[in-house]
Symmetry: C2
Subunit: 394 residues, 2 copies
């Protein structure tokens, strides 16, 4: 990785900054205003995306373009289950908010780890890949005898500080996505085998890797003294209907190059699918939440003569519900059916679904096209509803 080149880009980025009013992303956004202004210095212009919610960071725009990650796209190819990609990134933002306040920091996609760096780090250690964070192959292919791939994805997020017209690096967060199941083949295009990895093992391996990552990042002069957060994420299996969860994080301050065991804070975050199935026992979910959802489901399911599919993803932190995402699929025969169904959902959701947490409900046709959408914020009492009128078939 060419450090000089990166530093130059970094300097260019801060030549002109626009401060944008804070406003909300996420569902609690409505009613808030957003704005962002642009300052031009010569031909170089850096602005921010504007924010629609104080819950979320503004992003960095340079010369009209979003400042994309230097390792853009690596994690897309690393995830067979898109849920792992989405929840890894959003939860990495959630962890970052514990350290970098949204009111003080601006979000920037990772600029210090390039695609080739990340790809090498995600590989196995070998003679030709001395930076590989995954263990060297031991030549074995048995599911319990081989050395599995622990580290599946890695993401850097930069947090910038606005000061007058300057934007300077205020801290970095790096997430390590660790396999609970490692999928492998014994021959190219051969059958897929699985190595299960216990949470204890993947946590221990993740903490070891975190030290190595921290040490390597501290070698870059721009990262010598800024706070660096390392977060460990447990990937869900490929057949899981929910993504994985962050399990621990640690903050390195004052340029320290390793974490002590007391630096690590555990995170008790869980994701469940409602209704529970025999495979997903949802042991950590609140049974009241589940029965609330069941009431909602049974009322909604019979609204049309043809049955509707109703499921939900529930996210818990410290055993209390933090977010509920409901997915409803049914066959519609007219636009008026979609409108009436959406109205009914707003009434039913208000009556049956748990209050005090953000809820989002998406309604799709049998072909998967979104038909309508409802959402309520944690504090809100009523649902925002929207019927998509101009959605053709995709």
């Amino acid at each position: 990785m060419n450090l000089k080149r990166i530093r130059t880009i970094g300097l260019v980025a801060v030549t002109a900054i626009a401060l944008a009013a804070c406003g909300n992303l996420k569902s609690s956004s409505f009613g808030s205003s957003s704005s962002s202004t642009t300052t031009t210095t010569g031909s170089k212009t850096t602005t921010t995306t504007g924010s629609t919610d104080s819950e979320f960071y503004q992003g960095v725009i340079k010369n009209g373009r979003y400042r994309t990650s230097k390792s853009r796209g690596v994690n897309v190819s690393q995830n067979d289950n898109v849920m792992n990609l989405k929840s890894f990134e959003t939860q990495l933002l959630d962890v970052s908010q514990k350290v970098f306040s949204t009111s003080k920091y601006v979000f920037q996609e990772g600029q210090y780890l390039s695609t080739s760096t990340v790809e090498n780090w995600l590989g196995r250690y070998s003679k030709s890949n001395k930076t590989g964070l995954n263990p060297q192959s031991n030549g074995k292919t048995g599911s319990t005898t081989r050395n599995p791939i622990y580290l599946q994805q890695l993401e850097e997020q930069d947090y910038m500080i606005q000061s007058g017209s300057k934007l300077s690096l205020g801290g970095v967060t790096v997430g390590l996505g660790l396999n609970s199941v490692d999928y492998y083949t014994k021959v190219t295009y051969g059958a897929t085998y699985e190595t299960d990895i216990s949470t204890t093992t993947l946590t221990a391996e993740g903490k070891k890797m975190a030290n190595t990552v921290l040490q390597r990042m501290r070698q870059k002069s721009a990262l010598k003294n800024v706070p660096i957060v390392l977060a460990l994420y447990k990937q869900s299996s490929n057949d899981s209907l929910v993504g994985g969860n962050m399990i621990a994080y640690a903050v390195s301050k004052n340029g320290s190059t390793s974490f002590s065991s007391s630096d690590w804070k555990s995170l008790n975050w869980q994701s469940y699918v409602f209704p529970a199935t025999s495979e997903s026992k949802n042991s950590g979910a609140n049974s009241n939440d589940e029965s609330d959802f069941s009431s909602f489901k049974s009322h909604v399911q019979n609204f049309f003569p043809n049955l509707s599919g109703v499921t939900a993803n529930a996210h818990y932190q410290n055993k209390s519900l933090k977010k509920l995402s409901v997915n409803i699929t049914t066959k519609f025969y007219s636009e008026t059916e979609i409108i009436s169904f959406t109205q009914y959902l707003a009434t039913a959701a208000k009556r049956y679904l748990p209050s005090g947490v953000p809820v989002e409900i998406t309604v799709k046709g049998a072909d998967g096209t979104i038909q309508s959408f409802l959402a309520r914020t944690a504090k809100g009492s009523s649902y925002y509803t929207h019927v998509f009128s101009d959605q053709g078939d995709d």
Copy 2:
């Protein structure tokens, strides 16, 4: 059609009614509350869906189920272009609102015209189908010499009046969807040919059919005296990216069985696609709206290094913009890109898109999955934004 059976159902429907508080559907909904209560009389229960917007009607629920149309599904099979189905139905609601106020009337899917009735009416007149509204075949297959199919779809909507615990029929609207292009084959599974139909011709044919439909409906005792609205809709061609538009409507009061030419009111409603193409000149669209959209598009399109597709459907009434639906498609490499892009859109839309009209913006990934959504009401100044966090691939 069995009139006795229909009357019995109608009587059952009004045995128990719940009045629901008025609240908003559509994008202007947020902040409003919705509720609906249920009254049970014996085993028969009729409720309403609840409304989230005074702009929209509540719907009728019976015994926990939506009261679906007696001709449910006919129009789905009649439309090769789904845009025609959606805009036909929503615009039929818009026309109905001119006659039946949303504060006084409750919406009910059509209960007086059955599937077989509608299917027969949509057919050609023949010895075996004496009720066919389309002209008898003249045996010719030339695109200008044959008798085309004028009537492509037909929809009945009922408007109910709540009075105490009773729900009684207050009026009926029937929409006739008329082809601007009739697609036909000369032999089964053969090539598709087209007969173009001028607006003058389809309007004249539609008005003739409207008289026949009115006369037939007045023969049903339940429909003898209620107001009946007939609305004419011009279908767009199958390759059109926008649906058609309502072109005229007439109201029959006091049990009249035909419309005089002065009963007909013309509607100058138009739909356009932005940006204009060589085929769609958008001659009736406001050039300021188009240039506003162009500014928005050029800013948005360059946000990512990879280009985004940005188009819009614009709906006009009497040459003034009534609604703008923007569709954006791009390839995303991370969840943070989606969040930042959505924030940027809220800022860019507020700055560049026309104000004073409802705007909805949907953001989709390259695979067609919805990623985020923004909307602003006609009166609103800021955009409601929502990033879909738990959308797997469909």
